[in-house]
């Protein structure tokens, strides 16, 4: 299987504070990896290193240039980054996912706008393209940001805590959508909710300063302890039974 990127003994830090240390991590085409770990453990930092927002302090990250040339990474940040009251339409937000190939003189062509309309329909947001975010529900807002992440048809999709805003009615649709997208792109999903995501992902990466890859979607508390990855389990509703064998 073709790899998308690989990290070699990579470290990242904010000033003197080392957040990721000696990480070796490879992501292949069509992977679907749940990134878990405690708060402040470096999950978001991992995504930011992949996006090039943070330069590694040590080590390196090597991208597969054939599969991942620049515009081939889609990113769904934690919901708090955009201003929900900003006067910008749903269609324009989704179009911003195409900015990477454009440079700053950017004009959106008719085919770009058609693409945005398709994404809007695909995500069940038909008829809302001229609305602002503050007129939508939490689940709809999340779909807009997902649309922005996938409009460029990326080869790699990074999701940062997508569960935070998803309402339960949309949750199943959302994961179903991800399963469908996974056929054409690898997905790295940061989440607190180990229980819910384990039913949908293919493997885990436990991040707590170091990174341990777990090549299965089943994970036990023993595994987590062995990885030095203390996680508070949040479960709501019916948890898929494959999830976690509880430690006594």
């Amino acid at each position: 299987m073709a790899y998308l990127f690989e990290m070699f003994s990579l470290s990242a830090s904010y000033g003197a504070n080392v957040v990721l240390q000696d990480v070796n991590f490879k992501v292949d085409d069509n992977d679907f990896i749940g990134v878990i770990g405690p708060n402040g453990g470096g999950k978001t930092t991992l995504l930011k290193v992949i996006l090039g927002l943070i330069k590694p302090a040590k080590g390196k990250i090597v991208f597969n240039k054939e599969l991942l040339n620049g515009n081939r990474i889609g990113y769904l940040p934690q919901i708090s980054t955009g201003d929900l009251n900003y006067p910008v339409s749903i269609a324009d937000i989704i179009l911003s996912g195409l900015m990477i190939g454009k440079g700053f003189f950017s004009r959106m062509s008719d085919s770009d706008k058609k693409k945005a309309d398709e994404v809007i329909d695909e995500l069940g947001l038909s008829g809302m393209s001229e609305l602002n975010l503050n007129e939508l529900s939490g689940g709809q807002i999340q779909r807009v940001f997902l649309g922005r992440a996938i409009i460029g048809n990326p080869r790699l999709l990074l999701l940062d805590e997508p569960g935070n805003f998803v309402d339960t009615t949309f949750e199943n649709d959302f994961y179903e959508k991800l399963r469908e997208l996974n056929k054409r792109m690898a997905i790295l999903m940061v989440s607190h909710d180990v229980g819910t995501i384990s039913a949908h992902i293919k493997s885990f990466a436990c991040v707590n300063r170091s990174l341990h890859y777990h090549p299965s979607h089943e994970i036990t508390n023993e595994d987590l302890q062995a990885y030095g990855c203390p996680i508070q389990l949040i479960t709501h509703g019916v948890v898929p039974h494959t999830v976690l064998k509880m430690h006594k």
Binding site: Y75, P87, S96, M99, S106
Partner: protein, 285 residues
Amino acid sequence: MEANIFQYEFVIRGLLGAVFASITAGLAGTYVVSKRMVFLSGGITHASFGGIGIGYFMGINPVLGAAVFGILSALGVEYLSVKQRIREDSAIGILWAFGMAIGIIFIYMTPGYTPNLMSYLFGSILTVSNADIIALGIMSLILIFYFGIFYRTILYISFDEVFARTYSSYVDMFKYITTSLIALTIVLNIRMAGVVLVISLLTIPPNIAMLFTRVYFKIVLWSVITGFVGTATGYVISYYAGIPTGATIIFTLVIIWVLVKGTIHILEQLARSDSSRHLSQSELK
């Protein structure tokens, strides 16, 4: 005859001033209001008063001093907020008062009478020179081209800076340029509305516009239109009533805002009672 020529010139200058003020304030103001940097803009305005004071003291054009102070304080606050080493609102608050303090000290030390000081504080169309109008006109052109050419880039950076950084390495550059242009816009409009009131010239028109539309470029258009109506009306009233221009303009704009907001509210109430009447009628049937 001479009075007529004077009046003609005066009307033209006032009209052009109103047009350029509403264009610059509309473009800059929509950005300021959307990005919630009204307080920052207030800080820049008052900090630039320090430049006015130093300008008086050194015998150079106070607007030039204000421009230097305005841009430097704008860049300073942006830089601090990028570095995130200090609370931004506190930094702005300090800058705000510090600029005023410098201005007051230097004006006090300037020997003799300082003409037009009141016009810088409260705005006066009477003291606006042809050079001021030309500067505002050039600023209008710069802003129209800048926002026109880089519309999406500016819009997306100000909407979601974190995401913009994933595709562009020019985010900070655009932030610095845009904030500098806003500082310049504020300084050039100080002649019209005065240090104390100019921020309202930027913030009231977009807020009136947002009562009609939530689309960014339409907010700009409506801001320019309402800004022009408010500025021109305020200008005429201030001329005939002999009261300060800046205060009259802001007063007029607030009245427009209240009237529009009130009208929309009443219309909504009417629509609601209308639909509930329809509802009860259909219930009767």
